[in-house]
Amino acid sequence: MKVLVSVKRVVDYNVKVRVKSDGTGVDIANVKMSMNPFDEIAIEEAVRLKEKGVVTEVIAVSCGVTQCQETLRTAMAIGADRAILVETAVELQPLAVAKLLKALIDKEQPGLIILGKQAIDDDCNQTGQMLAALADLPQGTFASKVEIVDGKANITREVDGGSETVSLTLPAVITTDLRLNEPRYVTLPNIMKAKKKPLETFTPEALGVDVTPRIKTLKVVEPPKRSAGIKVPDVATLVAKLKTEAKVI
């Protein structure tokens, strides 16, 4: 069984982005880019399934600009066997990515598709669910545990107030939550090995997918600033302030 994992190149989570002064977006020129943390968990999970002998091949996919190749090399350094880049300079929204991935599912016929639950740049949390809908597949979103047993995927999902388990027929789409696993550190020998692994490139046109954005960004602004208040010297003052000044207790 093959597993397809999608990875997104995003601004590194340690970077505090700045809004451009003309309000057209955030300034991502010359900032550190990394693999979306949830996607790293997705790759790690796929590689662990391969190490357990549950899957035979891990294919990493990224959609976007040429530099996504770097993200794919990282995925292959973690342990993906090969990579596919769907290259385009168009701003890709979740529906377009889901359609591109659907086209690749048709080509590759994986038994599992694993994605991060959300990208930390646009915070959409949509692509996995959209892909499942387009491919008419069941979905196990926000997974904290994945078990493949008797041709089914048993997924423990994080929900409000606790967790729930669903059983899905394969193929199935899984999206990862934070506690699914802890991704391994990438070692230098594996980085070297990843350089030799195959990386195929397609265009959206070649896959027959229209990626025109459906949602137009009119402007991007800084959020209202919250200013720091005061330091209180002790607990008694704090309680007094909360009672008489803030009136919240």
Binding site: Q139, S163, E164, V166
Partner: protein, 310 residues
């Protein structure tokens, strides 16, 4: 123009997040209908009919809706979607699970986590962990939206008298089956609906100490318990207590952060709280930059003192 809100419910009652979603729906313009897809969910449908501002309730009842499986609920929404200009979900674990499935089936883009309705097709939403606010316009005929509940006041749960229309339910998917759930039972308010939240960080040091120190404070204040990602990752608190960019987004009247340094991802989840109190022994902790009241102290001393003083 008619707007559909997908109710969040436990078959017996409507969850609070639905009320905030109804408020957002009313801002989109037009009549607001509420869909209750459940199993033996007559009571939930009746409760939805009481929500102020709701013109009609659609009730679909089938076993397949008992646990809110996305495959089944999305199919039911898609079955009625043609009558609606907007389809709104609360941006909760369940709304986030179902909404994109609906959008993809309708071949429309989805706008997640809206915090403001500017007009029928233009909405505001935070991006980059709330470090930027984007104003976005949908180019699609049907707008599929998830609503960040902290951005909208709840509609009144009573005062309405909508008619309830019973729908023919779609069949259940054979691809997905509900196996079981582990939902923590406690008397505390729900994190996203609580008026007061006390939240602990990695400084608590262990699960035992987290409970020993934080629980009495939560009990005293009738507060919900939250945690930073660091505390959850370390196993000091359950996963669903995590407040932050990828956890729960909260905006209580009072948020007390103890031993939380204040990473941007955490601030993204709580900075809209009305009053923020930070207790931390590190004077440089970033949490102090958003706190209304900062107390530089060892939480193991200050929190019990606070419990005693309340």
């Amino acid at each position: 123009m008619t707007v559909l809100v997908i109710a969040e419910h436990d078959n017996a009652s409507i969850k609070g997040a639905t009320l905030n979603t109804v408020t957002a729906a009313l801002k989109c313009g037009g009549d607001v209908h509420v869909l209750v897809a459940g199993s033996n969910a007559g009571a939930a449908a009746a409760a939805a009919a009481q929500i102020a501002g709701v013109a009609k309730v659609l009730h679909a009842d089938a076993d397949g809706f008992a646990h809110g499986l996305a495959e089944n609920v999305a199919a039911q929404v898609v079955a009625v979607a043609a009558s609606y200009s907007h389809i709104l979900f609360a941006a909760t674990a369940s709304g986030k699970n179902v909404a994109p499935r609906v959008a993809a089936k309708l071949d429309v883009g989805q706008i997640s986590d809206i915090t403001k309705v500017d007009s029928a097709d233009t909405f505001e939403r935070p991006i980059y962990a709330g470090n930027a606010i984007a104003t976005v316009q949908s180019q699609d005929a049907t707008k599929v939206l998830t609503v960040r509940t902290t951005g909208f006041d709840p509609a009144a749960a009573t005062g309405g008298s909508a008619a309830v229309e019973v729908l023919t339910s779609v069949g259940a998917s054979a691809q997905a089956t509900f196996v079981g759930s582990e939902i923590a039972k406690n008397d505390r308010p729900e994190l996203t609906a609580a008026k007061i939240i006390v939240s602990g960080g990695r400084a608590l040091g262990s699960s035992e100490k987290f409970m020993d120190v934080m629980t009495p404070l939560a009990d005293k204040l009738g507060a919900a318990l939250g945690a930073s990602r660091a505390a959850v990752d370390a196993g000091y608190a359950p996963n669903d207590w995590q407040v932050g960019q990828t956890g729960k987004i909260v905006a209580p009247q009072l948020y007390i952060a103890a031993g939380i340094s204040g990473a941007i991802q955490h601030l993204a989840g709580m900075k809209d709280s009305k009053v923020i109190v930070a207790i931390n022994k590190d004077p440089e902790a970033p949490i102090f930059s958003v706190a209304d009241y900062g107390l530089e102290a060892d939480l193991f001393v200050a929190v019990p003192e606070l419990v005693a003083a309340l």
